[in-house]
């Protein structure tokens, strides 16, 4: 049941999906892996939308060079833990939700604890090694994974529903080499908002998700494209002879 304050706060989206939909958001728990370029818009929009509990994890401190794109952090936050900085901003936008910040690396040891009782995992990581950990855990626990990746003016997003769609490893069988990558803040904003939109649609049960579709954004040409993806029978995670 929504309080009168909640009814007012969310009135414009209750017009879209009713109080029933809003209550679904309120009852949900989402884990955001990363409080950087993608994690920033994802965290802010999911908090503003009223997702009841959000856990956000990052192992970094805010640096000056982050601030062109990591809009959840501000100049006074330099040196602060990203998870804590994000938690404070999300709480300022919406004090009516529960936000937990986790400062630390996401690894195969702690992933089960971090995603315990969550309804969705949002991939806002900057490397594929951790993405593969998220993907494996999502598959094993049957929790949806909302993927996003960015580079320069370009980005991609897809929604992975374990057992129903190709998994991340089917689409990206190899981890690209780690590097300091160029990126524009608007690219992170564009893809992060898409991911947040997917989460909201999934939780409410409305619209068409990016299932078995990889959305590609070319910001330099202002072109958007979606391509089909399929399960790979040889996938080491979800294939016929999975791990």
């Amino acid at each position: 049941m929504l309080s009168p304050d909640e009814q007012r706060r969310y009135s414009r989206q209750i017009m879209l999906f009713g109080e029933e939909g809003q209550e679904k958001l309120k009852d949900a728990t989402i884990f955001i892996a990363g409080a950087g370029g993608l994690g920033s818009p994802i965290a802010l929009y999911l908090a503003a939308a009223g997702v009841g509990k959000i856990i956000i994890a990052d192992n970094d401190l805010v640096e000056l060079s982050n601030l062109n794109r990591q809009i959840v952090h501000s100049t006074p936050d330099i040196g602060e833990r990203k998870s804590e900085s994000a938690r404070q901003k999300m709480g300022a936008i919406n004090p009516g939700i529960i936000i937990e910040g986790h400062h630390g690396t996401i690894d195969s040891e702690n992933i089960s604890t971090l995603i315990k009782d969550t309804d969705g995992i949002v991939d806002a990581m900057d490397n594929f090694e951790t993405r593969y950990i998220l993907n494996k855990a999502a598959y094993e626990k049957k929790i949806p994974l909302f993927h996003g990746g960015i580079h320069g003016f370009s980005g991609q997003a897809t929604t992975i529903i374990p057992g129903r769609t190709a998994c991340l490893r089917c689409i990206f069988p190899h981890a690209p080499p780690k590097e300091t990558f160029p990126v524009l803040g608007t690219t992170a904003g564009f893809i992060g908002v898409l991911q947040a939109n997917e989460v909201i649609k999934y939780l409410i049960g409305t619209g068409e998700l990016l299932e078995n579709r990889l959305l590609l954004w070319d910001g330099e040409r202002a072109e958007l494209d979606t391509i089909e993806v399929e399960k790979n029978p040889s996938c080491p995670i979800c294939g016929n002879n999975g791990e």
């Binding site: 960015i150 580079h151 689409i171 990206f172």
Partner: protein, 64 residues
Amino acid sequence: MQVILPDKSRHTLPQDPQDIRGILLKFGCNPTSVIVIRNGIVVPEDFTAREDDEIRIISVSHGG
């Protein structure tokens, strides 16, 4: 077959079947940094492309 590289340039290859790994090698693409789409669907490296196929190579955006 038609091959479209990440910079959107188009190249026509001879009609013979060719595996994706060989196409990537020919155009100097690192297999770990790209995904390959054949006629709109992502295909693995060991896939063999045929004469009428359109092969699109896309750079993976790996940052966050």
